[in-house]
């Protein structure tokens, strides 16, 4: 029997819960897929549905070679038999059982010898040997998270569903445990569907990102696809592509599109088959905009687009600064660009409020939204 070629999970489900409508078509292989979306989009609902804890109104779910839900064929495998590892938010560890008791819980029908060797294996992989006999309230947040992970993995599920697994941890620990999860996934090639609304998490973990809004998938692709080429301005906002600008089109030729960007003639190269009308919506990631040093006069022969702006807002965010520039030249209208730069660069460039700087944008980083 070949498992290659067959996706690990194929789900097409429709689900109406009161006023909320879930309509999802999802396919995944032995990869880590991040389900990313704002709170209240129905991400947790989708996980619970896949686990069999909720029953959708229609659709079909396949896990590996098995059909686990298909109302037309009267199939609705209960959660007990789905072999789905489920890690809910806040882990839901059994408070009256020890770490070992929690991990053993799903191994109740194993042979005692196998059960104990599986337990030892997981304790070792998850580095939990030192807390075997402690209760969940007596261990650290990171240990709780690893215990929940070990418990979910113990019966060797066909897929792992994780709901905000890092949300309850501090930033340093979070980064560390993310790397651990990645290592684990690479080692066992376990399909993992992970829910998060943390952008950094989505980017660092995902083989593939699935954007989820209002109960449906609005875009999916590689992480760079969704980060650099969001389908809509709304997704761009979710992906922290903060500069979304409408510009009039002057000419659409075989070389590209000529636009009038705040009074500047700019050519965005490329073949576009779509007809854009007379207006183009473009997006630029704040970290893709360069601030040109005072002493370095911008070189016009570079293909960069230059704007001159005055800093109106400086938002320090620990690792970086988010600066809002009011564009003063060449435009006369009210225009703004948001720029993110790392903290040390911010310090060296002598940037205070009201400082006027030249901003450089490479045309290749300008994303064009197709209508």
């Amino acid at each position: 029997m070949t498992t290659r070629g067959k996706p690990s999970l194929r789900a097409a489900i429709k689900f109406q819960v009161e006023k909320f409508h879930l309509d999802v078509n999802l396919r995944m292989d032995r990869e880590l897929v991040v389900l990313f979306g704002p709170s209240g989009a129905g991400k947790s609902l989708l996980l619970r549905t896949l686990a069999g804890l909720l029953t959708p109104s229609e659709g079909r779910i396949e896990l590996g070679d098995r059909v686990i839900f298909d109302p037309q064929r009267k199939i609705n495998i209960p959660p007990q038999l789905r072999q789905v590892g489920y890690m809910p938010q806040q882990y839901a560890l059994f408070p009256h059982l020890t770490v070992a008791g929690n991990i053993r819980y799903g191994l109740f029908n194993w042979q005692p010898l196998e059960r104990e060797s599986r337990l030892q294996e997981l304790l070792e992989v998850m580095r939990l040997d030192h807390v075997v006999d402690r209760f969940p309230t007596e261990i650290s947040g990171g240990e709780q998270q690893r215990t929940a992970l070990a418990r979910a993995l113990a019966p060797r599920p066909g897929i792992l569903l994780m709901d905000e697994p890092f949300a309850a941890l501090d930033e340093v620990l979070r980064e560390h445990l993310r790397q651990e999860l990645l290592r684990l996934q690479r080692r066992y090639h376990l399909p993992i569907l992970l829910v998060t609304h943390n952008l950094v998490e989505a980017y660092t973990l995902a083989d593939r990102v699935v954007i989820f809004q209002d109960g449906r998938i609005t875009q999916e692709g590689s992480r760079d696809d969704v980060f650099r080429r969001p389908d809509t301005p709304q997704i761009a906002k979710l992906m922290a592509m903060d500069n979304v600008i409408g510009v009039p089109i002057q000419e659409h030729t075989s070389v590209g599109i000529h636009i009038n960007w705040w009074g500047q003639q700019v050519l965005l190269e490329g073949q576009f088959s779509e007809s854009f009308g007379d207006k183009l919506t473009i997006g630029i990631r704040p970290e893709d905009i360069m601030i040109v040093r005072k002493e370095n006069k911008p070189l016009r022969q570079d293909r960069d687009i230059f704007f001159e702006g005055r800093i109106t807002v400086d938002q320090a965010r620990g690792f970086d600064h988010q600066l809002t520039f009011s564009i003063t030249a060449p435009a006369s209208e009210e225009a703004e660009l948001i720029v993110r730069i790392p903290h040390p660069i911010f310090l060296r460039m002598d940037l205070q409020l009201e400082a006027v700087r030249t901003l450089a944008i490479r045309p290749s980083v300008v994303h064009i939204f197709t209508p």
Binding site: R48, A51, L81, G85, Y86, A92, Y105, G106, P155
Partner: protein
């Protein structure tokens, strides 16, 4: 001295058996009620709380009619050589019926306080719902069950109306402490009534104190 020892020991025996009976029926009832099937839950809820609202004499009367030798059920028992009315078994059943809602309410509240996500995770780990009830829900609700048990025991210990109707007032056989107090007052034996009332009062205070401690323990978690 001996005149209240016999009713006291009988009372403890009746209340213990009644509490066990009420537990055996009350825990499954509470489990059924804590599920969220609305219609079934509402009907069961009304039935379970009926003994709290009805006067004990009414309960006792129903039990007498139902268990008595002239009822079909009583006749069957009679043929098997079992007699419930006017025996301490009957007194236990009467006390169990009165104590039943206390177990149900307390257990139900404790079961509903158990995080349903724990049960969800347990299901994805392959355990049956009944198994989850025994290994997760009930162990996490034990304080509530215990509090209910103590309340039920104190209530069963003090049962009067239903017991009198079902089991009568037979010294040494069905004359429990509350009935013996009634008897002593009727026959003008004030001293005996005083000491027996004192025993019941002290027992009740101790039990209430323990329940209170238990509730504080739950809150601290």
């Amino acid at each position: 001295m001996n005149s209240f020892l016999i009713p006291l020991l009988l009372s403890i025996r009746v209340a213990s058996v009644a509490t066990l009976l009420a537990l055996a029926l009350g825990i499954p009832a509470a489990a059924a009620l804590s599920r969220k099937h609305r219609l079934i839950s509402n009907i069961l809820d009304a039935v379970a709380n009926l003994p709290l609202v009805l006067p004990p004499t009414v309960l006792g009367y129903y039990l007498l009619v139902f268990l008595g030798t002239r009822s079909p059920f009583g006749a069957i028992l009679e043929n098997m050589g079992i007699r419930l009315t006017f025996t301490w078994y009957g007194a236990s059943i009467a006390a169990a019926l009165v104590a039943f809602p206390l177990i149900v309410q307390s257990t139900r509240a404790a079961l509903e306080a158990v995080d349903p996500t724990l049960e969800d995770v347990a299901r994805t780990l392959g355990r049956s719902n009944f198994n989850i009830f025994l290994t997760i829900s009930l162990p996490l609700a034990w304080q509530g069950v215990l509090a209910g048990t103590m309340l039920a025991f104190s209530r069963a210990l003090g049962e009067f109306g239903a017991t009198l109707l079902v089991a009568g007032n037979i010294p040494g056989s069905t004359q429990t402490l509350p009935i013996a107090i009634y008897d002593a007052v009727q026959s003008g034996n004030q001293d005996l009534a005083n000491s027996m009332a004192l025993i019941l009062t002290i027992t009740a205070i101790i039990l209430l104190f323990l329940i209170r401690r238990l509730a504080q323990g739950v809150n601290r978690q």
